[in-house]
Structure formats: C-alpha cells, structure tokens
Symmetry: D2
Amino acid sequence: MPTAKHILDPPFNIVRSSHVSLGVTDLGRARAFYEETLGLHVEDVSKDAIYLRGVEERQHHSLVLSKQPEPNAGHLGFKVAGDEELDKAAHFFRAKGLDHTFAEVEYQGRTLRALDPSGMPIELYFKMEKRERLLQNYEHYKGAQPQRLDHFNVFAPNVQGTMNFYLSLGFRLTEYAQEDGPVGRIAAAWLHRKGNVHDLALTNGRGPRLHHLAYWVPGPLNIIHLCDVMATTGYLANLERGPGRHGISNAFFLYVRCPDGHRCEFYTSDYQTMDPDHEPIRWSLTDPRRQTLWGQPAPRSWFEEGSPFGGTPSRAALFEAAVAVAD
Amino acid sequence: MPTAKHILDPPFNIVRSSHVSLGVTDLGRARAFYEETLGLHVEDVSKDAIYLRGVEERQHHSLVLSKQPEPNAGHLGFKVAGDEELDKAAHFFRAKGLDHTFAEVEYQGRTLRALDPSGMPIELYFKMEKRERLLQNYEHYKGAQPQRLDHFNVFAPNVQGTMNFYLSLGFRLTEYAQEDGPVGRIAAAWLHRKGNVHDLALTNGRGPRLHHLAYWVPGPLNIIHLCDVMATTGYLANLERGPGRHGISNAFFLYVRCPDGHRCEFYTSDYQTMDPDHEPIRWSLTDPRRQTLWGQPAPRSWFEEGSPFGGTPSRAALFEAAVAVAD
Amino acid sequence: MPTAKHILDPPFNIVRSSHVSLGVTDLGRARAFYEETLGLHVEDVSKDAIYLRGVEERQHHSLVLSKQPEPNAGHLGFKVAGDEELDKAAHFFRAKGLDHTFAEVEYQGRTLRALDPSGMPIELYFKMEKRERLLQNYEHYKGAQPQRLDHFNVFAPNVQGTMNFYLSLGFRLTEYAQEDGPVGRIAAAWLHRKGNVHDLALTNGRGPRLHHLAYWVPGPLNIIHLCDVMATTGYLANLERGPGRHGISNAFFLYVRCPDGHRCEFYTSDYQTMDPDHEPIRWSLTDPRRQTLWGQPAPRSWFEEGSPFGGTPSRAALFEAAVAVAD
Amino acid sequence: MPTAKHILDPPFNIVRSSHVSLGVTDLGRARAFYEETLGLHVEDVSKDAIYLRGVEERQHHSLVLSKQPEPNAGHLGFKVAGDEELDKAAHFFRAKGLDHTFAEVEYQGRTLRALDPSGMPIELYFKMEKRERLLQNYEHYKGAQPQRLDHFNVFAPNVQGTMNFYLSLGFRLTEYAQEDGPVGRIAAAWLHRKGNVHDLALTNGRGPRLHHLAYWVPGPLNIIHLCDVMATTGYLANLERGPGRHGISNAFFLYVRCPDGHRCEFYTSDYQTMDPDHEPIRWSLTDPRRQTLWGQPAPRSWFEEGSPFGGTPSRAALFEAAVAVAD
C-alpha cells in the first residue's frame, strides 16, 4: 500500500502547479479555440506566443501557446514558496544528478528548469508578473468560464517510481488505482501540494507525455455549456470524453482536444486534502466507477494519446494495466 | 371566489403573449443594455427602432425599442391562431364598443390594434416574419440567455373588471392574491392562454401602465449570472428586486430596470396549466411568501413605478391593497 | 416533407399526455426504485398497484405500477378537454372501425379505452381525482425531483402511418428524423398537443412497444444528482444513456431502466410550440447531433429494447433505419 | 495598509479551521434544524450532545451541539499539523501570558484550549477519530448538502489587534474592509491558513462573539434549495440574509439562524490563495458591493447579533464602523 506519510519539511517548497506551455502549429487556430471557445483570457501576444489565464488568476499566464513545427508540451510549471527555494531545488537536483539549469523566462523571471528522473521537463519559479484579477469582470466570462489551472496529468512509464520521487518532494497521495491481487501494481496516482485532490496525476502508459492539463470551472453547468458551444461551432469531434462524474476525486469533468490534439480537462467540485493525516483512497482497477462514477468507460484515445514533451523521448510502460476501454 | 371556468370557445383565439414595443429616449444606450447586458438578440435595426428576440423565438421580434421623447410602452402584442381570428376580434370589439383599427405593421403584417375596457392598448396579429431560431447557436448566448418572451404584467386600477374582460376572451386564471375577510377584493391575478402560469398578470395600482415584461431563461444560474454582470458593469442601481423564488408561480425571478426605467423580469421554472379543470390558487395578501417565497418584501418602487402606455392616461386604483413593502 | 398543418378543429380534443401503467413483477422492488431513487411521490397503494405522481401534478397519478407476471405496459393515458370529448372520441373510433370500450377506472372515472390503428392501447379521460400539489413541499423533494409526466415515446413499425393518424387527431409535428435521398422515409417523429416539443414521439422499430415515458425535472443538476445516486446505490447498470443534450428538442436528458426493464427519461428545457404556424424541424438520420447534440451515439439496447403492451403483439418495422449505434 | 507578509515559519502550524461546539437549549429542536433541514450528518449522539459533520469530512465532527441553559458558543477548533505542534503552541501561549490548558476531549484526543488576546476561546488538536466519508453516499444528501466546515467569523472589538495576533500565527490576510481617509481603520478582515479566502474572519463589533460558522456547499442551487425548504417548513423567519454574491470573497452565500439564534452561513465558490505573495484586496467601507456584490445591504441583526462565547464577557468595539444597514 502506498505511504501516506506527509513530508512536512521537503527539500524545497513547491506551492502548486502553475502553468504550462503547449507547442501549437497554428497560433490563430489555437487562439480561436482556447480564447473564443474555451473562454481563457488572452493576456499578451507576441509573434510566436500567446499568453492566457483564467479569470481568477492574478499571475500573468497559466498557459502559453507557442508556435512550433509539431505539437508538443513544454516544461510543467510549478510555483515555489520563495526565491530561495529555487536555490534549494538546484542543490537537490545536483545531489540527485538530475539535469537542471536557471533561465530568465519572460514574465516569470528567474526560473529553474530540470528533468525529473523519468525525463519529464519541469520548471520552478517564485515571482511571476501580476495582473488584475478578472474574477469580478463578469461581462468577459465566456465558454466554460475557466477560473484557474488546477492540475497536470502525465503518462508515466513507471508510476510507482515517479510517484516516489514526487512524494519525496512533499507531494501527498490522495487517491490511487491499483491492480487487485498480491502484486498490486499502481496504475495511476493523484498527488497534491495545494490542498485539493491533485496538482499532478500519474497515469500508467508510454511516457513521459502530457496526458492533460485541467482548468477549474465554477460548476457543472459551465461544462454543459461548453459541450453545447463546441458541438455547434465545428468542434464536435474535439469532445473526447464526458461530461461525467469522476469516481476518483468526485469531480465533475469534461475532456476536450484542441486542434493540435492537446487534451484539456474542465474540472469542478473535488474536496480538500490539506490534513497531514489525510488517508489516500484506493480504487481497484476493476471498479467501473473509478474512471466515471456513472460507469461509462473512457475511449481508447484517452488511454493512448498524449502530448510528447519537446526533446524528451518517451518509453513504453513497465506493464500494461487492464483498464476498461469503450471501443 | 374567482371562477375557474375555462371558456373553450372564446370569441376569438389568442394563442399567447408575443411582443411589445418600448419607447426609449436613447437607442444606443438602450441597445447596450438590452443586447449586451441582458443578452437579447438584435434582429434588425432601423433609424428609429431596434428589433430584438430571444434565442428560442423564430418570430422576427418580441421586443421593439423605438426612439421616443419620453419613455413609454406601446401596444401589448398577442398572437392569434389564424388570420380569420383578427376579423372575429374586430367584430367582438365593435360589438363591445371598444376602439380598434387595422394597421400594416412592419415585419408582422396585418395587425388589429384596440383598447381594452381599461384603455390599455393591445395588438393582435397572426403572421410575423420568421427567422432562423438561435436555440442551438450556443456561441451567441450571453447575459441571462433569454429564451422567449413569457408574459406581461400590468397595473390595473380595477383588477376584477379587467380580469373579467380577459376571462371572457378565454384567458384562464391560475393564481390570485386576495384580501382576507368578507369583501375579499382581488389585488392581483395571473391569467394564461398558452399553458403555463401566465401570459398576462394584473396588479392593483394606478393604471393602465405596464408593470413589466418577462423573458423566460433556462434556469436560476442564468439569473445569478445576470446579477453578477449588472453589478460589475455600471448597472448596480438597475437591479431592483431579487433574485428570489416567487410564492405565486413558484418561478425563480429577477427584476431589473432599463436605463429608461422599463422593468424586465427574468423568469424560469413555473408549471403547466392547460387542463380545463385546472383550479386557481388563492394567496392571502398577508402571506409574506406570496411575493417571494423566502419572505423578502418588494421595494416601494416595485409597487409604484411603471411605464405609461403612450397616449393612454392612467387613473388611480379603486382601492389600495395592504401589501408588505420593504422601506 | 411532413405537413405542419395544424388541425384547429380536431374530431375530439386531447389536452395532453397524462399517465401510464407499467406492469412490474415485484412491487416492493419497483417502489424502491420509483419512489426512493427516482423521487416520485407515492399517492396511494393497493394490494396490486402503486400510484405515483410528480411534485407539480395535482392529478391523482401519472404512473401506476401494477403487479403482473411479466413486465409490460398498459394503456397510454391522455386527458381530454371535457367529458363530452369522450363521446366524440367514441364516435370517431367507431367510424374508423377501431376497437374501443368505456370503463370505470379507479381514481380517474369514466375512461375510454381504444386501440389505435397500429394496435397500441390508449385511454382517454377527463376527470381524475385531485390531490394537493407538492410543488412547494420542498422538504419532500428527492431523487431527480420529477415535476410532471412530459411525454411518451413508442416504437412504431410504421412511423409515417401512425404519425398521420395522430396528426388527424390534432397532434402537431415539431421535429422529425428522415432518411436523406429521394424516398426520405421518416424514422422518428415528435408530436405534441400541450405546447412543448411532444406528448407522443414515434421511433421506427418493432412495435407497438413503449420505448419510454418521460418526466420533466427542474434542470440539468437534478439529472446529474440522479446519476450520482443511482451509481452509488446499486443501480449502476440501470443507467442506460446520457446525461446529454438532445439535438432534437434541445432538452437535457437521461435514460434509466427500472428493475423490470421499463425505460424512463428525465427531461428538461425544451421549447414552446403552440403557434399554429410553428414549422417542424427536419434532422437527417446521418447527423450525429440528432440523438445527442454532443455526438455520443445511443447504445444498442436503446434502439432495440422496449416494453410490450399487454395483449398487443408487436410486428417488425417496415424498414430498418440506418442509425448510429454505440457498440 | 495591512501587511501581506506571509510568515512561512510560524510558532506552531495550524492547518485549518476544524470544528466548533454550540450551546443549544433544546437538543431535539436543534437536531431537527441542523440535521433534517440544513442536511448535516449526525455521527454520534450522547445524552448531552449531538455530533455532526459534512459529507466530505472524514473527521468525527465539525459541529457539536451541546445542551446548555443559554445559547452560547464554545471553543473555535483548529487542526494543527502534528501532535508536537500542540506543545509548541503551549510554549507560545505561555510566553505570551495567555491562558491555556490541555484537555482530553471525546473523539478528538489531546486538545489544547486557550484564550486569544481578545479573550476568545480556541482549541487546537491534531488527531480526531476518523469516519468513512459520505461524499459518494449521494442517497443521503439532503438540505443544502453541506460538504465541510469552511470558516468562522467573529465579532472583534479591536479588529486590527486581533488580526495582528493571528497574522503572527501564520494566518494570511486575503481581503479587508477599511475606512476611507487618512486614519483608515480596518473594520473587517479575512484570514486563512488552508488556501482559500478564509479560516477566520473578523468583523468590527462588540466581542468577542461568534458571528457565524460557515459550511461549504457544492453550488448556488444547493443554497436556493435550502431557501425553498426553510420557507416551506416553518423556518421562514430563520432566513436572515441572502442568497447573494459576496463582493468580498466572490462567494455565493446564505445566512440562516438556528432556533437558538446561532448564525450559519452556506458558502460556495471562492478562490485559491495559497501563494506566499498573494496580495490582499482592499474594499472601501462605502462600496455597496462589498457586502453583497448586487448591492443589497445586510439587515441590522446581521451587524448586531452574535453568539457569546461561554464564560467570556464581551466588550464594545473601539469604534463604530459606518456600514450600510437595511432598515
């Protein structure tokens, strides 16, 4: 059984998942989708990039769309608790022999970039430029009314190993899916720093690849409205899975694919988890309500397709989990 | 006690309340409110008028904003079941000695205009130009997402008398507010033709004046969103009453005032009433849940202010009803 | 193309769909499902039957569960506009050579039972016993908070023929699904009397069989809550299809199966249709948004399984419609 | 201007607000209200007390109703990050000369009770007995479906002083209401530990007294349903304020009073605040949208009435804030 031991004094203090950049092949097409359809706010635009955020976010961006020859995902961005945490992190990565480097990144200042043991690129920062929040600028609400980036989910070829790494950084396990039987390999894990179900989830599969990023929305009706909008504006095929209720996390959800194939989740109504003695919840891989409380299995694409991280090769999973697929 | 006798064979067949025109003093200011804030769809614009409709309506307009030196209300528009009903109506009005005249009205064709016994101007038509419905054009939904005009509410100086007139036209009583005691004067009445709580409501007061028009919206969250939008876009003072649940009709509601002072209600979730043996529901004037199920009284403005009908003088009510006012 | 001609003066006046009885094999098990889980109100219980209604309904029952050796459906019940309409209907059926008989039915009085030309049993009545409405007895709301019976949907082996019969009774067509091409056979039709999308829908297939009955609920969140309840109380396998948005009707829906296999829909937010010149909407059989606006096809069971009418043999459909099935 | 400096290394680590006990004069009457009407889950009952929790909470109780001769409030309960934090807290209170004592409290074990500098009783604990969560026991959801205790709000006679004390414990300021002008006294402050808008709010007024406790609910419709239920089950007069949208916190809210006069808020949809550089938001006392974004002022009772803490005398506020009152 996975440990639930909470490391109160981690080697450096990650506050939460913060932002990510996605490589897209057509900025105009991507903007039409992310801004006009999903409803994210465009904060800045350059020749090669579009910076977006949710209505609640006072940081400059939680999503960067950057022009690339092929779709891919950039570093997963995490905010740390102070500038000195970046130095502690560099020290930690050095001691572990993990690639890392400091960079000055536009709008977010001093940034530490590193590869985790699975080769997944992450970046840490403390100070991002601030902008006025839009939470009470209700006239600009549109699409699904995304409020804030909530979490990342990645395909991990070795869920147990990657989980152990993030647990050592002070992430805490909230739920996990496990094979039945004496071996009981873990097929998926939900890990948090900020006090809800997750900042980072790991899904067994060829990786590292980005499975999805997720935005928090006010409630289920925002998700239903997004379905209605997408179905009637040419994005019918981009509705991949849902809406539904997750068994894991209890959140109401929808998965959509952008024109470049990146997967975005809209997510609402999970629960709080900040207690140090919070106990993780186990789900059997064979429980049909794990993926969707109402029993609908996810489509094959959801299990197999993801965004490669730029410059990071992926490798096959250590084992194949026996999941229910809607074929 | 009011009769609930349903006249199955009325002198002419009114289908439902359909549209109204409001005189406004500044078309640009009115459009900003009705289109951008409330979310009605502008179907046509002329030099002196703006034609609007809800997303469900396939008729050309349910609201006409016309440039006038002073704010006022035009004829209350009702749709009849066939062109021949207009002739039957003219015959009826002639027999009753009520002023009436035929007009060709833009977009709505042959129209019979008349004054009811209280002097209130109404108009009847059968064929209005049709437009594509917007019900599944979800990307254009905004504001409160008004779907369709639901009803009119008017100040009547003689509720009982006006009610009797409309009952004779085949309107049916669904709910009414009555003084307690042996006299039991009726202070308000809800009358329908289309099968829900009302097409026309009568409120005791100086009249005839338009108390409000109401648009149906999909649900309470649309109304909450409109409050949020109005409160943060300079229309805080235009939020007059609500949101809340009506005791009468059981609908969830909000009343707002446009920049010219016309009152609009947003209304959702009443109940069906088409049974000929449907029995009207009596409310005592002293029941605090009548106006708002949750007990909040309406403000004084709600009881006293209304839109005069152009060219129609109003007169004092026959009696003053003892209503609860939030002062 | 189907006619939209509204018959204003039908041979007899049907007001709306009203009630149905379902034969169930275990009354206790059925009650646990319909009352405790779906949330219908049990109005009366006898040795062999349970009478239920929605919170808005003032009639004694809209659903009767009766003990039977095998699951089946009874007569589809329609309310007429007056007692004399029953005699007009008897006259009409006699002239058409259709089986019919008068019966005294408990709680609903004088009732005319007949077989329509497809052999489907229907019953007409005017006066049912009344009960206090529960609409504002909010503490008793539970399950999906069903408000009222909205419509029936039946498998018809000859949709065009059955549709023509009900059109001749004054039913009006609102939407229909049609094959593309020169023949253009109609595979499904939605017909109403009461002023919304339907009282009766016809689906191409072996019949006559009851496809489903539908209750109106206040909004989508009531349906989501029912999914959550059913998924966690042993009824996971009884969630058959949805929740989703219908392309046809624009309603938000869910289909569930009771322990005896009868299909119930929960339905909300369609649109009004009482205009005599309301034009029906055509959907191509190949449009994936017809069944579900968001593109998810219905499962095979939804196309094939239905409740036989007691004593009425079913026969194969005249043709097989090429529908999208989720297999 | 209040400092936003986050103390990352507080003298002891409070995780979040956790529970409170309320003295009630009639346990049966209180249970009917808190369990049957509000929808809290009764976990345990003794002769003198009832223990309740929300559906998400795995701790034994977040609310204890205890039989008392007069209504009052007990210690405000906060969870700390480990058992050793209790000793650190005792050390801290001793150094500050604040009354404190250890107690063994049923179901929550070793508990440190203390008076803060204003004389308000608080208690700290680490390990409370755990129970199975009810989050996915949807069939038991009722009332407002309270999920978890979110925060306390207390009347403080010296908001600035009390705020400074809690800031020194690592609480962080998220929003505050301030007089305009050069003096700029603070009239209210919102302070958190757990990462949303607050665990503890301070309201200028005679105190210390408990202003209210608040439960998180899934969304606005749960609050609307509670209004409907209370208005129709004899609790109309217990609906004190709302529903509405707070300007501060942006949450949708409702305030109700229990039969003993204790005030409970139902609260949903605020925003996350765990960033160390999160900047507090200032509201002018004269902004009508501060209390309620939609402009409705709170009633006088809301400003004046609160629950005394047992054994703790209250004293007048240092100044009288000029707030808008609905009279």
